[in-house]
């Protein structure tokens, strides 16, 4: 029995040390990979899509439950004396700017409240030029450009793209590709598109100049996109990029994969798989849409224009092909009017 208890007394510390060594090795490997990618990026080498074991492992995890537990933890009210220490530690770890917070740190009851803080008045002046479109968030520009060709594809990372129709929803009022250019749509989607074309306000051709009428003096319209990534330490409220009318809101439940740089390189269809809220409408130049896409640690999206919308809800295992829940804002055709720079939504923790 003494040798037994002796064995046990070595077992726990041994297992702990082994676990710590393994985690240390994994972390070192991760740092090495990230450093290699950083060097590649600095040389201008485009990192390619490369699914890995970790991405497959993530598919098996209960990410939504993890996200909700994370939200409960960060929603715990902290003692007032502790708050500045916790928020300063968070700011140091994630490079947040504490000077811009609208309230003194003691006023934020939990990390969750601090995370979705408003900024002091005047911290984000809105570019007054009526011909410009402003950034709706603080963040890093991942991709931007004009959508051409019949698939209207956005590159997630070199070697992998996703369709704007999948991102925004197929019943979207997206400018319809001139009929006949829609090659690979199934028959009911063709009829759906034809149906939409009766509803839609206008049509443009993304496909080819053959449909463009180069003689008319009317302005030619293109479809543009911009993908902006928010780091954990960034200000996480979403503002209106222009003055526009929001006509439709679409909520896709989906998954809650992480949205960091590694995830975009290794997880297929990340942007069209994750939970997201899409606002769609019209601005002075035509179609406008914003997609706010959640992630494991920031899984909830709160709409100030529709406070009753709840996201990141526990749900039984549903297929991801569940159609989005859609709401047309009243009055139909006018919807909700937003001014440029106005607060629209916020990403919440968990």
């Amino acid at each position: 029995s003494s040798s037994n208890s002796q064995g046990n007394s070595f077992l726990v510390p041994g297992a702990t040390v082994a676990t710590l060594l393994m985690l240390g090795a994994l972390h070192a490997r991760r740092l090495y990979d990230d450093k290699k990618n950083e060097e590649a990026r600095e040389k201008g080498i485009e990192i390619e899509f490369q699914p890995d074991v970790k991405a497959s492992f993530l598919q098996m995890l209960p990410l939504r439950s993890i996200s909700r537990v994370w939200g409960s933890l960060t929603g715990i009210e902290l003692p007032i004396w502790l708050r500045p220490y916790v928020y300063k530690a968070w700011a140091r770890a994630f490079h947040s700017n504490l000077e811009e917070a609208a309230l003194p740190l003691e006023k934020y009851a939990s990390l969750k409240d601090f995370f979705v803080r408003a900024l002091e008045e005047g911290c984000r002046p809105i570019d007054p030029d009526p011909c410009c479109l402003v950034s709706p968030v603080d963040g890093t520009i991942l991709r931007f450009g004009e959508l051409k060709g019949s698939g209207a594809m956005i590159e997630q990372v070199k070697g992998f793209s996703y369709s704007v129709f999948s991102l925004l929803g197929s019943s979207s009022f997206l400018p319809l590709i001139a009929e006949g250019d829609v090659q690979d749509e199934s028959s009911e989607q063709q009829s759906n598109l034809k149906e939409n074309s009766k509803k839609s306000w206008w049509r443009i051709s993304l496909a080819s100049p053959k449909v463009r009428d180069t003689v008319s003096a009317c302005p030619k319209k293109g479809l543009y996109y911009c993908v902006i990534y928010l780091r954990p330490g960034d200000y996480h409220r979403i503002h209106s990029p222009v003055e526009w009318n929001v006509l439709v809101r679409r909520h896709f439940t989906g998954n809650l994969f992480p949205m960091n740089e590694r995830a975009t390189r290794t997880i297929r269809n990340l942007y069209v798989e994750n939970e997201r809220v899409v606002l769609e409408g019209l601005w002075q130049e035509g179609f406008m849409a914003i997609a706010a896409i959640g992630a494991t640690n920031i899984g909830s999206i709160e709409l100030f224009i529709e406070p009753e919308l709840c996201t990141n809800l526990p749900r039984k295992k549903l297929l991801n092909s569940q159609p989005p829940e859609e709401r047309v804002y009243e009055p139909e055709g006018i919807g909700k009017m937003l001014k440029k720079g106005e607060e629209v939504a916020a990403f919440n923790m968990g």
Partner: protein
């Protein structure tokens, strides 16, 4: 988290009296840090 903007804007304005053509242009590049309210393009 990530925000994706999809919007329509002029690509080419053919003006009958042969003015210069105007189109939407981004004034950002990949990897730029942007803040709320800063112009992404005009």
């Amino acid at each position: 988290s990530t925000v994706v903007l999809v919007f329509q804007a002029p690509t080419l304005k053919l003006l009958k009296n042969r003015d210069s053509s105007s189109e939407f242009r981004f004034n950002i590049k990949r990897g730029d840090r942007v803040r709320v309210g800063e112009a992404l393009g005009r």
